[in-house]
Symmetry: C2
Subunit: 233 residues, 2 copies
DNA sequence: CATAATAAGCGTATCATGAACATTTATTAT
DNA sequence: ATAATAAATGTTCATGATACGCTTATTATG
């Protein structure tokens, strides 16, 4: 059988396989994206998504975990595969397909020193420069997916700190959708989901009155997921 | 620069890259899937999705087109990438990642002889056997995607012949969602979209009275897509 | 030729959900 | 004491989803 395998596979070309991470963060009311200066050709010196080749004995998703851990210091970052990018000419160096992943991180969680030491930078989403290879396309596709997902799962919660206020949550959704939302309707929708636990603490950084902090109720959230809900806003 | 490229890439393992097609069809009220008997190890003889390795100078989506053309004889089949499957152990032969695509074909369109000559077979979706490698997982993921997509685009139309009746369309959606739909509400919804052209012909194969045949209005459909509609049923 | 049988086709009432919109409240700074 | 600021809350209206029963066109049959 081993012989037959070799015969069958041997005329086929092998390729490089990479995975690139579209890392979304949220900070001071702005949606941000983590990028770094590419250190290798092609496109050396250009801003680029953070990625790596997939090792021959490594699962693709493990490779993404590894990259995310390396650059942010966090080991359980929320990420999910977007799709594979497989045009022949996408990388002018060698034939290389890339599997894009999009990740959401709580911007207060990450290890700032570590990020800086890799020459990485949180770019405001709107000001994003031209990125290496087909990375701008990946980012656009990633944002579309983030928007679509945010409608069916309160996925945005992943981008906020452990404790957060309703106005902060609203600002996040406004950043994701790039439009203003009505605060009364937003509150109503969020509360109707029963996935927030109101705490007795207030956050007074943005108003005199202060806004109540909330925690995420993971148990109710999981129940909700199973029953197939809708977070259209 | 060439030298540097080689230095950089040379320590990385290359892999086989394949693409596998989840081909949905619809026939006599049943959702079906096109599979064939695998002719190579590993899993030789098992039913399998139809796939192929991606050539070194071939785009991934071109490879999928090629496969679909080869097996069905149709050259503009609707298909879309699902995602990449990249577990190390997914193929016990060699390290090989696969990019799954899901395709929808009008079952009356395809070239029956050609399909048979490849040893392919339209399996009823519910009766699907164990497939090779991780193909059952791909199929499940593909169905989920099909269902999700069918809510936002009348994607199901792709699975019907040029001319079809409303009851046929309803049966298709019932097959996709595996539940009965109310015919009055279904009609109302479909008609409100203004994407069907009612013809003067009737199809009498399933009733004495006969049901009016309809065509798909591509122009209105494209307008609708742009305005971002919703086909939730 | 009359009648039975069958699926196609249509309309209405009710309910749930999203959208629009203004005022009061808690707190701090002056 | 007052002004300033953002947080918090409730109601109405429109739209779309769901539930539900009756009529119609046609063929087969006795």
């Amino acid at each position: 059988m081993a012989k037959q395998l070799i015969d069958y596979y041997s005329h086929i070309g092998k390729m490089y396989v990479a995975t690139d991470c579209i890392i979304f963060g949220f900070d001071s009311g702005e949606l941000k994206l983590l990028v770094f200066k590419r250190r290798v050709e092609p496109n050396k010196g250009l801003w680029s998504l953070i990625g790596s080749f997939v090792e021959i004995d490594e699962d693709v998703d493990k490779a993404a975990s590894r990259i995310l851990k390396e650059i942010t210091g966090i080991s359980n970052v929320f990420f999910e595969q977007l799709m594979a990018y497989g045009k022949v000419e996408r990388d002018p160096g060698y034939r290389c397909i890339s599997i894009a992943q999009y990740a959401l991180i709580r911007i207060d969680d990450y290890d700032e020193k570590l990020v800086e030491s890799h020459g990485a930078f949180w770019y405001k989403f709107e000001d994003l420069p031209t990125l290496a290879l087909d990375h701008n396309l990946m980012v656009l596709d990633g944002l579309k997916r983030l928007r679509r997902r945010a409608k069916y799962q309160p996925i945005g919660f992943e981008l906020l700190p452990e404790k957060f206020t309703i106005p902060q949550l609203q600002a996040l959704y406004e950043a994701i959708y790039q439009r203003k939302l009505d605060s009364r309707n937003f509150r109503k929708k969020v509360n109707s989901l029963n996935v927030l636990i109101k705490l007795d603490e207030k956050d007074k950084t943005s108003s005199k009155r202060g806004a109540y902090l909330h925690k995420f109720n993971h148990e109710n959230y999981n129940k909700l997921l199973l029953s197939g809900f809708n977070f259209e806003i």
